[in-house]
Amino acid sequence: MSEKYFKRILKHASITGSKNIPEHLVKPFLKSQGITVPRFIVVEEISDLRKAGRLKFPVALKVSSSRFIHKTDVGGVLLNIRGMSELKRSAVAFRKRFKDEPLLVEEMVGGSVDMICGLINDDDFGMCIMIGVGGIYTEIYKDISTRVIPVSREDVLEMIGELKGRALLEGFRNIRVNRDAFVNLVLRFSELGEEYGEYILGLDANPVILNQNSATVIDAKMVLK
């Protein structure tokens, strides 16, 4: 089933000539790999907004284009949209500002711990997997652990054990998160890296929001080789 979604990714790359894959193509692919993502709709035409009736508000609106990879920096993300009319207004404004690029509308997901999970095709060792604590803070604290894929459940637990912020996954100050859901997500990423490693240069899920039930990929970037 993933095959279909990955073909769309390859097709997009060959049409646009860009190695940066827009999020509205990455998310369905991740979902098809058994990775939890927020419920979403893709808006290619304003009329697609009627599908938003399926979603639970509040929602987030994001521009999804290989031309705007750092969407937050260009004001391409709007959070906490409370109702349909607000969504419509915002979507129309986004279409104008971002030259009719596709939009992604996603349910907001709450949680208590931000993590990061990524695949990096290393020049020396090939496809590697990385996890870290902190979402946007990961780069500052450099609190990460890497392994060459494939990794086993034991490997992932060892990786978590290497993080300074591991306590956040182990009930620190009564923060309850589903650690197993995150471990499973990392294992799915490892499998994905094995299967599609020959095409992928990097895949970054940041943040992955953890709560009591799940580990959800909020933002995902993929770059092809």
Partner: protein, 478 residues
Amino acid sequence: MSSCWSGKGRFSNLNCLIHPRSVALVGASSNKLKIGGIMWSYLQSFPGRKHPVNIKQETIDGVKAYGRVSDIPEEVDLVVIAVPARNVPSVIDDCIKKGVKAVIVVSAGFGETGEEGRKLEDEIKSKLANTDMVLLGPNTLGVYVPGESLDTMFVLREKSRRPPDGPIAYVSQSGASASGFMDMAEYHQYGISAFVGLGNKLDVNENDMLEFFSNDDKTKVICMHIESFADGKRLLKLCRETTPRKPVVILKAGRTEAGARAAMLHTGSMAKPSQAMDGAFKQAGVVRANDLLELFDYSRILAYQKPMFGPNVVVVTSGGGYGVIATDYIEDRNVGGGLKMAELSLNSKKGLREKLPSFASVDNPIDLTGNVTDEMFDHVLKIVNKDENTDGILAFLLLQTPYTTDRLIEIAWWWFKNGEKPMVPCIIGGLYSEKVIRMLESRGMPVYPDIRRAVLSLRVLYERGRYLLKIRGKGEAR
């Protein structure tokens, strides 16, 4: 001297690099002030056949010299080349024609100097493409194999001594640090099975040597100092095959962007910092060293001491101050070992009480105080070796206390060799301590003059033990 393998192919030619039956030196000289003269005189200790090659001289030190390698009237396993870079390609042609198994290009002036040097390397590479002959270097000290009395290094022996025969294979991409490292090794009687200087890695690289020493029975530990990975995936595969049987310690220099640029200027290698290295090394059971001293300490302790199968350390000291510093380093995850101070069993504590003065501490760190005697020390080591909560021992040998004698050293040596638990000894002091350390090291007992180095070495013994338990499927270490 072991014989050269009669087999064909690259792997058996690597054997001729380390265990040749005959050696020729191109650029041999009778002038002992020249590199070719130094190398020729050092080659005299090699018991096999040796031939000087010099286009201008008839004889070198009374031995008939040949104009070219192909003039030598018998088979030649190893040719060492020490002539200017521009003359090397024609010598290589001649070696291939002669059917030489291995060559070492000592000469510098290749890829590390720029475009012209790189062209020379490419020229040599294309010559090697259709042969099994192996080439070490260029820009290398070559090899030093104590068991074969084979020494191709031109660094002066009186300034840079050669280590004794032993269990550690040492592979380095840097000649200058290698001569310093080996001089230090000699001083501490750290024994090596072979040294191989990789130089610019035009042909033979770290993976070839790792595979070779992995299959070499004499080598118990492999330590490597490299600045670039020739093929990281192959390295990991070879390490995974090797580390269940023998430890591999790697110093990868140039791990920051700036460091990688420095490495590029040094050996001309396309070094890049890898984010994934730490994790990859862990998976493959490789012990990582950050500098030469760590490379030295870790390879040595792994060669001379048993693995530690849990994180719990007992500190035995007769100076309380040492015990406190050691405790910090043992537990500290950032600058220390990230290990645990062992909680001695009640039984052990009772046993300790029997022979220790009432004011001594029987809690860990065990402090025998200035009243320590040889017998007390022996008694403590006996008990902690049996203690069920202890995985390893850090022993301070305080030579300065009034009631201990030289027998203390014998006691430490006995327990180092025969104790159930790995023990890392630490002696801190000056001239007298230094003499004692030399004496113990000449017997094959590494002694640390520094608390942190001792603790980090215990940490490495624990890493090794944990890895062995993991791959043997015995689950997590304690």
